[in-house]
């Protein structure tokens, strides 16, 4: 059977692999800030890309795969945080400790800020990271979180206020 002489759609394998090569590191970093655990962050990102790969043929719009994956990563982080809060299966019974790299490379002040971010409710944490870590507009963050712009605005505002309070309490 000759398969080379017909015009074929770009295989999902190539699209997903290229997307992973370009964006996996950034998404793992985002998930690490959310979860504080690189292994769990990598699992979440891998699952998001595998989900995209599995569903490729059933997606109605394949023109924005990064948006799809980013939303999946945020979903995965939420699930991981829920499991952690429930202590499911012993996987996340304790909040993970900071990595040696973070201890060595990040100043004490910044580590305190990240620790404060991790104490925020999930939605506030997401809004903050999408807005200031990924530099998304309120509209883009709203799309990624599947909430209204107003929700992003209020979650961000409350998050910044809460961080200020947490840092003040600990200083």
């Amino acid at each position: 059977m000759d398969t080379a002489n017909t015009e074929l759609p770009l295989p999902a394998t190539h699209v997903v692999t290229a997307l992973y090569a370009e964006h996996a590191l950034g998404l793992v970093r985002l998930a690490v800030i959310m979860l504080g655990d690189q292994a769990a962050a990598e699992d979440v990102v891998q699952d998001a890309f595998l989900g995209l790969y599995r569903r490729w043929d059933s997606l109605t719009d394949t023109s924005h795969p990064l948006a799809y994956v980013r939303a999946s990563v945020m979903n995965g982080c939420r699930s991981a945080l829920r499991r952690r809060s429930r202590g499911a299966a012993g996987l996340f019974t304790e909040p993970p400790a900071e990595s040696a790299e973070a201890r060595a490379l990040v100043s004490e002040e910044y580590r305190a800020v990240v620790a404060a971010i991790r104490r925020l409710p999930t939605r506030q944490r997401e809004a903050l990271l999408l807005r200031y870590y990924l530099d998304m507009t309120e509209g883009q963050a709203a799309d990624a979180m599947r909430v209204s712009r107003g929700t992003v605005k209020s979650a961000t505002s409350r998050a910044l206020a809460a961080i200020g309070r947490i840092l003040k309490e600990e200083s």
């Binding site: 970093r29 690189q38 299966a89 040696a100 910044y110």
Partner: protein, 454 residues
């Protein structure tokens, strides 16, 4: 931007930049519509339909103690219908299916002798059998013991089956080192049960390209007896392809435990032709050979090649390299057996059925280019729900095998179909002998088993 916003941005970016490397994407872990599920993923997550079944069997708590091991396995026990009587299998049960309890069962009667659960927070990850049908070694490890430690301390146990006694199954901790931080690719208990061969990548979490190691430990004392290494990452099926199931079949003791056989599997992609060309070899490592370079000390005794079209799944030749399943050298060292696939006329659409040929092949080491078909199954299935095949066990001469085949429920699962696989998608287990595949129905929970050893 306010000062507070600037601080949040700077802090999160500084923290994020401590992550400089991520592991490669393993697409073989996904069963995608239109592409073959080439090998089971490393079993850390399971689709909903593979969630734990209601287990009615009694759960025996582990009483683990360090003891000195003196007895060794006796000669091979009488087989049941050409296959060993007892098996040990890992099944995903417990919360989220993570625990992989160890089920010990009787292949002849279907009776379950015991179900052993790992200690809380742990899971069983590998199982391997000696030739006597009564002796197994099992590995267990915690899910995580610290951040950034993806492959934490592993504990090895000896499992002894003593039917008809007051304690039919006994699990004893072995003094084999933990191999902390290592990714185990292959495990093989020698036929005598006295040596454990372990193939692994040391410090995989931090150095995934470290040389692959092969070590031989004394089961009795835990002492390291021999060691080899290689920078060739294709040995034991390669780190990207290893799964809980394939760890059991990636290394075999042969020739009365005087040699070890292991496969290499490598794939080169040709984007211009949308082709993946896979090359498989079987290598033989003589225990008496000098040197510590695994490749230099071993030799190729068989090789094969397969070509798959990435888009259409077209596979024009019946080849074991099309399945990515570990081939095996039989214990007498004379026959290579493997699982093969052919798909010569793929339909144009994902959902239209096409005819697949699945087969178990045998090659004599004296004439390794000529394949003999041991059994063959023709399956009508779409590319979206493509079939898969596996090889789980072979007797000492390759006259009798145990294998499985199934149709993946990829589209049904990906599109939110039924959480339980329809009967058509459940795996078929069988004994392959005398040119036939005879259904094996005495292994319970066979939909869910992730690793099994006889």
């Amino acid at each position: 931007m306010t000062p507070a916003e600037r601080v949040v941005r700077a802090a999160t970016r500084a923290y994020g930049e401590t992550v400089t490397e991520v592991r490669p994407l393993d697409l073989t872990a996904a069963a995608k519509p239109g592409e073959r599920h080439v090998r089971p993923r490393r079993r850390r997550r399971f689709p909903a339909w593979m969630a734990p079944v209601a287990a009615a069997a009694a759960v025996i708590a582990l009483a683990i103690s360090l003891v000195t091991l003196r007895t060794t396995p006796s000669r091979p026990a009488p087989a049941a219908g050409g296959v060993p009587r007892y098996y040990a299998a890992l099944t995903p049960q417990g919360p989220q299916g993570f625990q992989n309890p160890l089920v010990v069962g009787d292949t002849l009667t279907g009776a379950r002798l015991a179900t052993l659960t790992p200690a809380r927070g742990n899971w069983f990850t590998a199982v391997t059998a000696a030739a006597d049908d009564r002796t197994f070694v099992v590995a267990a490890q915690p899910f995580y013991d610290a951040p950034d430690k993806r492959f934490p301390a592993r504990t090895w146990y000896l499992l002894r089956v003593a039917p008809g006694t007051s304690s039919q199954v006994r699990l004893t901790r072995l003094p084999i080192p933990d191999l902390k931080g290592d990714d185990v690719l292959a495990v093989a208990l020698s036929g005598s049960g006295q040596q454990l061969a372990v193939g692994f990548i040391p410090n995989y979490a931090t150095s995934p390209k470290s040389p692959v190691q092969l070590r031989i430990y004394s089961v009795t004392t835990g002492k390291l007896e021999r060691a080899w290494s290689t920078s060739d990452q294709t040995v034991f099926g390669g780190p990207g392809r290893a799964s809980t199931g394939s760890v059991t079949t990636a290394l075999k003791w042969v020739d009365d435990d005087r040699a070890l056989a292991f496969p290499t599997i490598s794939t080169a992609s040709n984007p211009r032709k949308h082709e993946d060309v896979t090359h498989e070899t079987m290598r033989l490592l003589d225990m008496s050979a000098d040197g510590s370079d695994l490749i230099a000390a071993s030799r190729v005794i068989w090789s094969t090649q397969g070509v798959l079209n990435q888009v259409t799944d077209y596979a024009g030749q019946l080849s074991c390299a099309n399945t990515f399943i570990n081939p095996m050298l039989t214990a007498d060292g004379k026959t290579i057996v493997c699982a093969a696939l052919e798909f010569p006329n793929p339909p144009r659409t994902l959902t239209a059925p096409g005819r697949w040929t699945l087969a178990w092949l045998a090659y004599s080491t004296s004439d390794p280019t000529v394949a003999r078909t041991l059994a063959q199954v023709s399956v009508d299935a779409s590319r979206g729900n493509s079939p898969s095949i596996d090889l789980l066990w072979a007797d000492s001469s390759g006259g009798t095998l145990i294998g499985t085949w199934s149709i993946e429920a990829a589209i049904a699962v990906a599109r939110g179909g039924s959480p339980n696989p329809p009967a058509a998608y459940r795996p078929h287990w069988g004994v392959i002998a005398d040119g036939k595949f005879r259904q094996l129905t005495t292994v319970p929970d066979m939909n869910y088993i992730v690793s099994i050893a006889w």
